[in-house]
Symmetry: C2
Subunit: 219 residues, 2 copies
DNA sequence: ATTAAAAATTAAGCAAACTTAAATTAATAA
DNA sequence: TTATTAATTTAAGTTTGCTTAATTTTTAAT
């Protein structure tokens, strides 16, 4: 297994490639990991030597099959830990991401498979992201759209949230916004692209920035 | 919090001080952590600068109050994880030490206290070692003696085993040798200081080296 | 008390993972 | 097309944590 640093780089590259069509740039990875571009360029060289990425200079980074396999292993560990911490140990939506960010690098194959079985081989983590199985296969995921793309007046069910900010997770918890919960889009302001929606018959207004981080089933 | 390396040094120093009257030497720590004496001398300098140990050159190492506090935190994490992995996730006696050795460095205060509560604030780990509480206090421990000190013909109960070798743990499991289990010392050979004892009415012979790693209540 | 052996420290150097600053390549605009 | 700007890489240097080799200190033996 690679070092913790390498694992974090691989995971970041994988997740960027998943959610963007543009090539994965060193500067994106650098900003995501909060290191310098120089550090990322150097690491790209090393990961390339390791056969985990291919890197065309000044263009972009792509994972090799080996690199993707490792990235998926780390993501598997991360997501299973998040679910375990919530389901078994009762941590909150806002607490689990940071814990998982550390545990994902200290978890053996044996342990993560044990946790997987303990949880009944779940397919999704507590934020709605798919969990790779022990062979690196992702479950088929239903079609989802960001709240920003929703139609006024329609009813939706929460499918996924981005979990990078614990502050935001805590806010969602206070709102009662959770997976599978029904919401209705009441209104949207052209002025700032904010959206008014009802959760449990209570009305809330969410900024565009927040709406970009909430996804619903597109039906 | 210190680095993983520093945590491992502090833990090793603490545990040596607990189980030996002689000063904690750099060479002991080095051999235990499987690094060079030079590495340990250098680390001693740094830990000294950090105010975590006091080190009289060519004499020995002692933990400061701060150093001991951190050591006890790591030991707490280690032992609670071991118990959790066995009790909750069903790992075996032989599997948990190596897992805990990693997890102890990736576990927040919040998480370990949650685990502690989940387990009902246990006082001993699965190998019979005491678990420091969240304030660093160790439970009072009953008097125990190594198997090597036991009297022939007497009956004892297993109180503790040293868990450093998973091979040995697996062997104990096969023998049925577990905590609180009753054993009878049947015989001992002057020739090699091996001991013959009965567990569940089956007779086994254990080498001196093995007996040094098994403790019973001294009644 | 001297000397030899053992233990511990210091010196010198390496690899990993960073940094800032300089150089290079690519993109864009005149 | 050429010049400017932006993105990226390379260069040079730091810190952490390790190594082996040399030196120093302590201990043990004669
Ligand atoms: Mn997460
Ligand atoms: Mn991580
Ligand atoms: Mn252990
Ligand atoms: Mn450890």
């Amino acid at each position: 297994m690679p070092t913790i640093s390498k694992e974090n780089y691989l995971k970041t590259i994988y997740q960027r490639a998943q959610t963007s069509n543009e090539p994965v740039t060193t500067s994106y990875v650098a900003s995501k990991l909060e290191v310098s571009n120089a550090a990322t360029s150097e690491m790209a060289k090393k990961l390339s030597d390791d056969g985990l990425i291919s890197h065309e200079k000044y263009k972009g980074i792509e994972l090799t099959d080996n690199g993707r396999e490792i990235a998926l292993q780390i993501i598997r560990r991360h997501r299973l830990w998040e679910l375990f911490l919530i389901k078994v140990l009762g941590l909150s939506w806002g607490e689990v991401h940071d814990e998982a960010e550390m545990l994902e690098h200290s978890t053996s194959e044996l342990l993560i498979n044990t946790i997987d079985d303990y949880l009944g081989n779940p397919k999704f983590d507590p934020h709605g992201s798919p969990i790779p199985d022990r062979f690196g296969n992702l479950p088929v995921t239903p079609a989802i759209i960001a709240l920003t793309k929703c139609r006024t007046g329609k009813k939706y069910r929460i499918a996924k949230v981005n979990d990078k900010s614990s502050e935001l997770m805590n806010y969602f918890s206070r709102l009662g916004l959770e997976l599978e919960k029904e919401i209705v889009i009441e209104d949207r302001l052209e002025f700032d692209n904010s959206i008014t929606l009802s959760i449990d018959n209570r009305i809330h207004s969410l900024s565009e920035k927040i709406c970009e981080n909430v996804y619903v089933y597109s039906n």
